[in-house]
């Protein structure tokens, strides 16, 4: 049996239950997505997915919490995630259910909505309908299709015009289960004109079972909106994660996306970015530390549709053990997108003989008068620099740690949440020293 079939059967058998625990706005997308999924299936191991075996990842039998049974966990007790000065409004999902907060909701300015998509569809039906599923198309990607078939709720950040959220929003995804489990997550971010917000998403796996997740993130940045999105993965070697982020930027909007992978199993992160309005600015970056048999595959598409836009892309990976990394980055400058400035850089350290990195930077330009560059380097650490440090009394392994931290420094420079950069620096340092990277205040890792 092809791996697709079990998902199709599951969907048909439980369609009513899935619909019952969701909202019509999401339900309306299910049948068309099923059709797309039946047509597309999972992507084969070629072209965009040449380095990641998607079929194999989805082949095992995973449980899904279609009936929305409450998982007995109080995340506020498990995760007292205490990043100094972070002062974030904290939200949780347990697998793919939004955890209902009993604590008092933070005091946001009037009109701001943060929370479950099901409720958002009740309070803001028109806005929800206009945005949900609109940029994460199911026509070309079987993984988005399967997510849209099964996702029953999502996390919404809606910031109306001219509103600036000073403190960041933090969403923690918790993978928690006693059996192998699949989660289908959605995030929908709507930034109206001149609004500002920052969202930090952390993903953790609590149990030693296999987790798989599909995650679709849609972000709308309207005129002059400013938005930062940080994705921090600290899961486990048994966790498989397929994320697909879709971003549409209008005139003068500024968006920064930063994906940091400190611990994972198999991850595939797709980024689709469209710059549709003049003078939009995008910064897309990410870093990973991979070891053992971890796998991270990053694909980015940045499309310049309008003139005078800027995109800067920077991805760095440090590979140890038998880990594999892949990076495929494409910048497309469409006809008419004159005065575009677009730069793409991918740099990788392969620290061991068995680590493998596959990288493919691409640039397609159909406009005039543009400033574009793309480049990739993969190599070992600078032996001269290591020796120089040793000759000052710094031990070899310490010198390597310092160089590794230095290597990732420019990715961390793109973190604009106070306290978070320092916390991440500390986590990364711990990770390089071979200690488990986790926030020391998170009780779940102390078990």
């Amino acid at each position: 049996m092809k791996p697709e079939q079990q998902y199709i059967d599951l969907f048909i058998e439980h369609e009513n239950l899935i619909r019952q625990h969701s909202t019509s706005i999401m339900n309306n997308h299910r049948r068309p997505s099923l059709e797309e999924f039946q047509r597309l299936g999972f992507p084969p191991m070629k072209e965009d997915y040449a380095c990641t075996n998607v079929n194999k990842a989805f082949a095992p039998d995973y449980g899904m919490n279609i009936n929305r049974i409450k998982i007995p966990v109080n995340p506020y007790h498990v995760f007292c995630c205490d990043v100094p000065h972070l002062n974030a409004a904290l939200y949780f999902t347990v697998n793919d259910s939004i955890y209902e907060r009993k604590e008092i909701s933070p005091n946001f300015p009037e009109g701001v909505y943060i929370g479950s998509l099901i409720k958002f569809a009740e309070t803001h039906p028109e806005i929800a309908k206009q945005h949900y599923g609109k940029i994460a198309g199911t026509k070309n990607d079987g993984i988005i299709a399967i997510n849209t078939m099964f996702a029953q709720d999502g996390f919404v950040v809606y910031v109306p015009q001219n509103i600036v959220l000073e403190s960041p929003i933090q969403l923690i995804h918790i993978n928690r289960s006693d059996v192998n489990t699949m989660s289908n997550r959605r995030i929908l971010v709507i930034m109206e004109a001149h609004s500002q917000a920052k969202l930090l998403v952390c993903t953790h796996s609590m149990d030693k079972v296999s987790f798989i997740s599909t995650e679709v993130i849609e972000i709308f940045a309207n005129e002059s909106a400013k938005f930062d999105y940080y994705d921090l993965e600290e899961t486990s070697e048994l966790t498989t994660r397929f994320t697909s982020l879709h971003l549409k930027q209008e005139t003068h909007s500024q968006v920064c996306i930063n994906g940091i992978t400190l611990n994972n199993g198999l991850s595939r992160n797709n980024y689709h970015i469209e710059l549709n309005g003049e003078y939009a600015e995008n910064k897309l970056c990410g870093m990973s530390i991979l070891d053992e048999t971890k796998h991270l595959d990053t694909m980015t598409h940045i499309i310049h549709n309008a003139p005078h836009c800027t995109s800067n892309e920077l991805f760095k990976n440090i590979l140890n053990g038998h880990s594999t990394g892949a990076f495929s980055g494409k910048i497309l400058v469409k006809k008419g997108a004159d005065k575009t400035s677009a730069h793409l850089t991918n740099k990788n350290y392969c620290s061991t003989r068995n680590a493998r990195m596959y990288s493919k930077p691409q640039l397609e330009i159909y406009a005039d008068d543009v400033k574009c560059s793309h480049g990739m380097t993969t190599g070992q650490m600078d032996e001269n620099a290591l020796f120089y440090m040793q000759s000052r009394g710094i031990p070899y392994h310490e010198a390597r740690t310092l160089l590794s931290i230095a290597f990732t420094a420019d990715v961390l420079d793109n973190i604009h949440i106070e306290g978070l950069k320092e916390r991440l620096q500390a986590l990364i340092e711990k990770r390089f020293r071979g200690e488990l990277a986790h926030c020391s205040d998170c009780n779940h890792n102390k078990q």
Binding site: Y388, Q390, G393, I405
Partner: protein, 254 residues
């Protein structure tokens, strides 16, 4: 303090050092001169344990310890220092962080407590003043974007921070203008004491006008072919190396 006996070293099977004998006592300043390709920089690299070079024969004792058995970091922590001819740029590692880690590794080795933040900053400022190094450089990455003169002054700054017993200055004068040379030399002279020693490797007499050596050696073709007092440097400056090479061919000098 340092005793080198019959030292042979090779790179890629090619023998560069062919039997070096050299003793340096506490408080002495030695100059090693010689034409290009004679093995001067190889000698300094071997002393600090650069893995590119392989010692094939001989012995190096440093304060009675077998230096060749020590890792490069332990050699540093035992009190050996090399001012690099070509200091390495380390993007992303700040001078401050680099020096703090180095100082603390030295202190750990000696069983001392780690240095406090305020003491460290005080020490940095004090030693920077010694070579007239701008404090702004402390926040920048190690040697990155430094001018030639700044790099060399930065080497002497590190020497001042680490307080080595034996410092090797490998062509510290190369690439320096007269003013920078004076600053570097005066920095070195301030660090000179009866307790520590210096080996100055240079092509030219120029630096030795500022850092006065007690003993001058001429290295040629992997061997020390002449050892004399300070006046030898002046003689080399006026006569060049040819007469020594000739004499070496005829085995005339000892």
């Amino acid at each position: 303090m340092l005793k080198i006996t019959n030292l042979h070293a090779a790179i890629n099977e090619k023998e560069i050092l062919k039997g070096i004998n050299l003793s340096v006592n506490k408080g002495e300043v030695h100059a090693i001169m010689g034409p290009n390709g004679s093995g001067k920089s190889t000698l300094s690299s071997v002393l600090v344990g650069n893995p590119t070079f392989k010692v094939t024969k001989g012995e190096i004792l440093f304060n009675g310890k077998n230096l060749l058995n020590l890792s490069p970091e332990d050699r540093s922590r035992e009190g050996l220092f090399l001012s690099f001819q070509y200091p390495v740029e380390i993007p992303g590692v700040s001078m401050t962080n680099f020096m703090r880690v180095a100082i603390n590794e030295h202190r750990k080795y000696k069983g001392l407590e780690l240095i406090s933040a305020s003491d460290f900053l005080k020490l940095m400022r004090e030693k920077q003043a010694l070579v007239e190094l701008d404090n702004k450089l402390a926040g920048r990455s190690v040697n990155e974007g430094f001018s030639g003169g700044e790099k060399k002054r930065n080497e002497i700054f590190q020497m001042a921070m680490l307080e080595p017993q034996l410092s090797i200055l490998d062509e510290t004068d190369s690439g320096l203008d007269i003013d920078a040379l004076r600053i570097v030399a005066s920095g070195v002279n301030k660090l000179r004491s009866t307790e520590n020693s210096i080996i100055v490797i240079t092509h030219y007499q120029r630096l030795l006008d500022y850092i006065k050596p007690d003993i001058v050696h001429v290295l040629y073709n992997g061997k020390i072919i002449k050892t004399a007092g300070q006046e030898l440097a002046l003689e080399l400056e006026s006569k060049g190396y040819e007469w020594l090479k000739e004499a070496d061919k005829n085995n005339g000098i000892k």
